[in-house]
Symmetry: C2
Subunit: 488 residues, 2 copies
Amino acid sequence: MSSENKTIFDIDKEKDFPDWFGEICKVADLADIRYGVKGFTPFPPWSLMSMNLMFNVLEEVLQRKGHLPMLFPTVIPESNLTKEAQHVEGFTPQVFWIENIGDGEKLEEKLALRPTSETAIYPMYSLWVRSWRDLPLKRYQRCSVFRSEIKSTRPFLRGREFLWIESHNVFATHEEAKAQVMEDLETTKEAVTDSFCLPVMVFRRTQWDKFPGGLNTYAADTLMPDGKVIQLPSTHDLGDNFAKAFDVKYLNEGNEATYAFQTCYGPAVSRIYGAMISVHGDNKGLRLPFGIAPYQVVIIPIFKGQDAETVTKYCKDIEQKLKKAGFRTHLDVSDATPGWKYNFWEMKGVPIRLEAGMRDIKQEKVVLFRRDTMKRTSLELKNLKKQVAAIGKEIDASLLKMAESRFEGLIVDADTLSAVTDALEKGKVARIPFCTTEMEGLPCAEEVKDRTGGEIRGTRIDIDEKPEGVCTVCGKVAEAVVYVARSY
Amino acid sequence: MSSENKTIFDIDKEKDFPDWFGEICKVADLADIRYGVKGFTPFPPWSLMSMNLMFNVLEEVLQRKGHLPMLFPTVIPESNLTKEAQHVEGFTPQVFWIENIGDGEKLEEKLALRPTSETAIYPMYSLWVRSWRDLPLKRYQRCSVFRSEIKSTRPFLRGREFLWIESHNVFATHEEAKAQVMEDLETTKEAVTDSFCLPVMVFRRTQWDKFPGGLNTYAADTLMPDGKVIQLPSTHDLGDNFAKAFDVKYLNEGNEATYAFQTCYGPAVSRIYGAMISVHGDNKGLRLPFGIAPYQVVIIPIFKGQDAETVTKYCKDIEQKLKKAGFRTHLDVSDATPGWKYNFWEMKGVPIRLEAGMRDIKQEKVVLFRRDTMKRTSLELKNLKKQVAAIGKEIDASLLKMAESRFEGLIVDADTLSAVTDALEKGKVARIPFCTTEMEGLPCAEEVKDRTGGEIRGTRIDIDEKPEGVCTVCGKVAEAVVYVARSY
């Protein structure tokens, strides 16, 4: 974690979010866009360490709910990829193909870099699932996936290689599959909201916006600083569509071969990381939640020449004490000035900074600075471990609260498209009565998109909303209340 | 972890190792070779969970020694790959190439799936390393790599996609780089020997067998049940060769631009897993070290009809107690018979099995079975946690000891090639005086290979050996003592 040539970070995040995002990726060493291949970015330690902690959170929740980890190959034979018609149509334009090895030896069959792994995994599930005793089968893998984005790419938010978990489950009945979808939404809440401090709205997507080949897609959206929404984890009720395409059958208790029901769930950790730093950051740089900061506490010794040894020893003791208590702690003994170090670690988003000098030593105290509130307090050394744990929790609660406050007054009811446009231009999300989220509604959705620049995110499933009146676009009786937002 | 249709495993590992290996991969659900692409195998939970634990061990050691994690893209542009001449010659024949996207859109530049990441990482190191203050730079990544093996493939031991850690380090001086190589060999010992219970011999490879583009390669070999040796982690002193090819320079304290020295280290976790199950397994199946078994303890309730509830509750209490103490514990409540469960979990290699029935409950005891010795003892329930921890350690020590015993009398001194052949045919490793491990020795090495089927593994660096007499092949004065073995 080189700390050279860094200056004070000061960019107005609300005013110029793209600039803020690009600069923080560079200055905080989060992603290096100079790799030379569009959409592929190396992740240096500061971002990867947080993403690893995020993976740990998700894996802990998934394992607690009965999922086991597995790992499938990165490549998928072309013949697998083409087995489910809608799925292949949805993903093929984005696929990277391998056709040759070495100095030009041609492969017998083209291989795709996985854009998602249904077509890799389900042919094996067809062999692994034999009887009702094998069900439910709940598995996940943690891996990279590859999609050639046509739009311009941005680190974390839209890359051509991104990091995710994909969970693939098989059930005897559709009811169990639908219950799994609800469990996945709860998992999203536990990870994304409780640990990464991001509030979400949960939608059932429209039929034209669902996972290709599935029955229904449910997804959590959060709000970015530029007023656009971004999709965080999505979970898919696949019905028995894929089971039929890939022959995933089980013998039921009556010994009859029966198609299974499937779900898949895909929290894209690199994308969630991008959203998380965007939502929590401020004009001075990152503000990382306590639970997923690579360093939770940074310690800065303050001294003049002759006190160096005494102060450094005091700080080292604090470091050892906190490390032993399980806190990720870093003592900054570089030769920069304290003021420079303050700015640097504030920019890096470390939640808690401790400062100690001769005066603190005499009082057996230490100064604690909170990155979220930018406030200092003086603490008794003997209470430190307890205080760090408690303040860590407070910081996470405070980041979530600040993020939630941006949701207040966010949703505006509209009954004309010009009211929708007005709302979107003010960075709001419009709620409208709409004819239908079935395929017949697509022309109305396209008109919304053309006239307002907003996309229909679907119907809320975390709150109960009954449609009244007529569709804002076509005037037919409204069957749904939908949300319109600009989006990533 | 489906437990259907499994029969008692009984294959003579020493007599028919290839059959043993193929069958255990299938029966214990370690790898599924039916994926349909040569050399690419899905890893089900039972192998992946152990490999994840192995990754954790290696990452803990690397981080403790000052390495930080990072992650580079899976793809490398062709122009990077061709920058170091020997390196490109060594790896290009094995590279998978991506040239097209979607329905035939051609990429501006061909992309390689990384066969190893020097050529991805070092162009960025050229940008990241500016001054002596940035050094040493110690980083690693955990990822898949891709090499199109020409020889026949086998799960874990030789795949075309395998799992590894690669550590890439930059130093101001060659001395520091060489010290890093020694640190890496120590890391190998901590992980491979202390945690995975595999004894190793450590060699400096010959100049014709080193990492392409490096100065020297050091590697640890272990012995497989068929008498062949297999390379486990290797570490490379790259000198400043790659620094010159990729322009990795730093300003020294006198402000002069200076080429840096580099090392890389590549423990291939999937391959080490393959070696580990081969070495420790027996005719009844796997025997996993306690530290890396997905389940360290399996509990089998023993009851007749009316006692079901009492016994199951007793076992559940034990399960909770052990889980709370941090042991990976599984209570098998499936409706198979106890005898069937015994065989199944023995085949899976779970180190400790607990059995409890009405008699044990009355005595507040439990029966403990050790997979390594196949012996049962009865324990007081109140001592269980302590005993499980202690016996876990004993099991690891006993597996290592059994593996080490196969090294006794393994090395045979030879002074003719027919004596080498004799030794190899008896499953031994031959030690011979040899002209030189510099490139001039290659013709002699080729003659050894042709006439004995053995490969020269290099000179030992973990013990001090001085050559005496003349080269076994050409009769020139011997400059080295080398080891000849059949190998993977």
